[in-house]
């Protein structure tokens, strides 16, 4: 899922400094699961902003709403009445969510409270790690399910570099060498033949930005 992290309060405060009434919107999908922008985080951030505002001698008024998915037009349109009553919207969605709200409600400033970081998965309570770079040309069939684009510091496609050091990476000794992991995984599955092939360099234009997919009618 998409993993995001809240911006420092100071940065958010500056964004909404001039406003007296804002709507704080949460998203019930990825950012809820990674504890960044769900209903709870909306309540926490709103409370912090009210406290900070009062400290500065102002009385910021916040309203709160959380919708199932911020990247969905119909769901965002449901915020119509609340948006009418405020001067700005502070979104705790990922970048896609912020932009959807901004596009539906073009007349009002929409601000991002989160930094969208990566596509990843949980690794223990409260810890999320990046596992997918959304590169558009998935290589996982050749590496036993371990992504060298994300996990190899050099993004190599054809085995480890000369600096692989007892399973650790020479660029970042804290990191595991992705190719050592790939080797071990393929060995356990009896598929080392995959590593004996040569793969040409990646097509970095597999995803042109902004990416677009058109599916045929369902």
């Amino acid at each position: 899922m998409i993993v995001a992290e809240r911006k420092p309060l100071e940065a958010i405060k500056q964004m909404i400094a001039e406003y007296k009434k804002i709507l704080v919107v949460g998203c019930g999908t990825c950012v809820t699961v990674c504890w960044a922008g769900g209903e709870k985080e909306v309540a926490v951030l709103s409370s912090q902003l009210r406290l900070a505002s009062r400290k500065d001698g102002n009385e910021l008024v916040t309203s709160e709403a959380t919708i199932e998915r911020q990247c969905e037009r119909e769901l965002v349109e449901g915020l119509k009445d609340e948006v009418k009553r405020v001067e700005a919207v502070l979104s705790l969605g990922c970048g896609a969510g912020v932009q959807t709200i901004a596009e539906i409600f073009q007349e009002i400033p929409v601000y991002p409270a989160l930094n969208t970081k990566f596509v990843g998965m949980p690794q223990g309570e409260g810890v999320w790690v990046e596992t997918c770079a959304a590169c558009g040309d998935c290589f996982l069939d050749k590496t036993g399910g371990i992504c060298p684009i994300v996990r190899c510091a050099k993004g190599l496609l054809n085995g480890p570099c000369g600096g692989t050091n007892n399973g650790k990476c020479e660029v970042d000794p804290e990191k595991d060498c992705a190719w050592t992991l790939i080797y071990q995984r393929l060995k356990a599955q009896g598929r080392l033949d995959l590593m004996r092939k040569y793969y040409p360099r990646r097509n970095f234009q597999a995803v042109t930005r902004p990416g677009k997919i058109e599916a045929l009618q369902a």
């Binding site: 809820t32 769900g38 709870k40 985080e41």
Partner: protein
């Protein structure tokens, strides 16, 4: 504000003591001015039956549906007043209490401040009362079968007890035969009965009972579900099968290990462990040379174990009986606080066993099959004694059974710092785990002699019986509740619940959400606080109730 709320406030001045400081009439007058306060009463002794009967009548007659009691601590009388509500036809969860005695009158000597604080406490309790919700009871069916893991004497005894109580058990044992450690013991001193006799008797009862299914050479590989509905996967040889149980009892015993690193030597023909000695004592005819002098050494690797002491004393007596050797026991502390241990010690003394207490561990060396010991007896400080024996018996450390980590993980229970199963509370609930419906008996969780271990077998049998006997259990229904429309199935609550009381369920034919299992829930509220989607509501301790108690901050003095 809900217009159908009719609040009744019952003030108690604790036998007229609190009215010296707090003006209850003034408080009553202030409260009666509030819109939804239907009735305010002052009593001197709400803890007495007569006053409770009056309270019950007031509640009924005036149609009161939310009750506030300002009196002593809820720790003392919450249940008393919940019963009054129940008898008055009001859901017992619609009670809010203000602790104006222990946490106000008794601890704040300044009269005016105490009175003002009491008023604030009462108003906050009223705030809370307005937000209370009824919690109904429900009956849920439970599976009445019990899984017992471990076919030693304790597990076997628990199965027998349960079968007498007409509950069916499945007894699984990883070895090929039942009996556990009793198969290895040479004696059961101070009991005069032999281990063989005990086992034969127990096995007969087990085989003859239609209620006990024994699975030897079997192991538990997975358990899902919660109390009343555990789903266990068992492996036996090549076969794997699934069975349902209402409760699980762990009776996996202990392992014994010689701490050779600590002693600085390994075992040999002349240095044996207590377990090895028991083997010798079981078949004395096979011994080539009967030892003339046998030395025992304990309390070097573990000063605290009863089992160690018991084993040393028991086998010392066994050596006397079967070999007739001279016996000397070198010990630091002789822990005789188990059943019959003091007597066993005296029996040993009477049979001529010599006891020698040391403080510093003895120096031990072996030469030509003869063991030489240099030790300082605490009764003769400064003097080194030299002893020799042809057989030295060393103690073993009592360690958790080898499968304790595996079972811990399968059952999601805790281990204590030594690796044995962690009791829910070592003093109050020693045979209970952190999970409803999972119990421990015997040495897998505590340091017990045989009599105590057997008592625990009865204990857990009764605990399982109490839970499952009726086939139905009354629970509080949905005191903690997850809203399936808000749940994102992020698994946070399932992972965070310390009692493994949250399961996944399917709603709308495809969506999975988390659901609280009422029977297993122990009401801590951790899930409620941790849910990132605010999808969990705890009726007795909701967020809005807590926030209502934060009102009026600033209205103090």
């Amino acid at each position: 504000m809900d217009n159908s709320l009719r609040l009744g406030v019952f003030l108690c001045d604790c036998g007229n003591t609190m009215s010296k400081t707090i003006d209850f009439s003034a408080i009553k007058a202030k409260l009666e001015r509030l819109d939804d306060i239907e009735y305010v009463a002052i009593s001197h002794d709400l803890c007495l039956i007569k006053a409770q009967e009056a309270m019950q009548k007031d509640i009924r007659d005036r149609g009161i549906n939310r009750v506030v009691v300002a009196a002593c601590s809820p720790e003392l009388h919450e249940h008393t007043f919940m019963n009054v509500l129940q008898r008055a036809g009001v859901n017992p969860h619609l009670l809010s209490m203000a602790n104006i005695r222990e946490q106000c009158f008794w601890t704040h000597p300044h009269k005016e401040k105490a009175a003002e604080k009491a008023m604030v406490q009462i108003v906050l309790a009223i705030n809370r009362a307005r937000l209370l919700e009824p919690v109904e009871k429900a009956e849920i069916p439970v599976n009445q079968d019990v899984l017992i893991v471990g076919g030693g004497i304790v597990g076997t005894e628990a199965a027998i007890e349960l079968s007498h109580l007409n509950l069916k058990t499945t007894l699984i044992e990883k070895e090929a035969a039942l009996g556990g450690k009793l198969n290895l013991f040479a004696s059961l001193y101070p009991l005069q009965i032999t281990p063989e006799e005990v086992l034969a008797s127990k096995l007969k009862q087990v085989t003859e009972s239609p209620n006990i299914d024994v699975l030897t050479s079997a192991e538990l590989i997975d358990v899902r579900g919660q109390a009343g509905n555990f789903v266990a996967r068992i492996k036996r040889g090549d076969e794997e099968f699934v069975r349902n149980f209402g409760a699980v009892i762990l009776a996996t015993g202990y392992d014994a290990q010689f701490a050779s690193q600590l002693y600085g030597f390994e075992t040999s023909t002349s240095i044996v462990t207590l377990s090895q000695l028991e083997e010798m004592l079981k078949s004395p005819a096979e011994i080539k040379k009967i030892p003339r002098n046998v030395g025992f050494i304990t309390d070097v690797s573990d000063e605290h174990s009863r089992i160690s002491t018991l084993s040393a004393l028991r086998n010392a007596l066994g050596v006397k009986e079967k070999f007739g050797s001279e016996v000397c026991i070198l010990c630091k502390n002789l822990k005789v606080d188990g059943a019959g241990l003091e007597k066993l010690y005296h029996d040993c003394r009477n049979r001529g066993v010599i006891f020698l207490k040391f403080d510093k561990p003895p120096k031990i060396s072996e030469e030509d099959g003869e063991i030489h010991i240099q030790v300082e007896d605490v009764l003769m400080p400064g003097e080194q004694m030299a002893l020799s024996c042809d057989l030295l018996v060393v103690e073993e450390m009592v360690i958790p059974p080898s499968d304790s980590e595996t079972l811990r993980s399968i059952l999601d229970i805790g281990l204590d710092p030594q690796g044995f199963y962690q009791d829910n509370n070592i003093h109050l609930y020693p045979t209970f785990s952190n999970r409803e419906g999972i119990f421990f008996a015997g040495n897998c969780h505590a340091d017990l002699d045989l009599i105590r271990a057997l008592t625990e077998a009865s204990n857990v049998a009764l605990s399982a019986y109490r839970l499952l006997a009726q086939g139905r259990v009354t629970i509080e229904a949905e005191n903690v509740m997850i809203d399936p429309s808000k749940c994102r199935f992020c698994l946070t609550c399932i992972r965070a619940c310390p009692h493994n009381a949250i399961r996944e369920v399917q709603v709308d034919h495809e969506k999975r959400v988390a659901q609280i299992v009422d029977l297993a829930c122990q009401g801590c509220g951790i899930c409620t606080a941790v849910c990132p989607a605010k999808a969990i509501r705890f009726k007795d301790w909701s967020d809005d109730q807590i926030l209502a108690e934060l009102e009026l901050v600033g209205a103090y003095l």
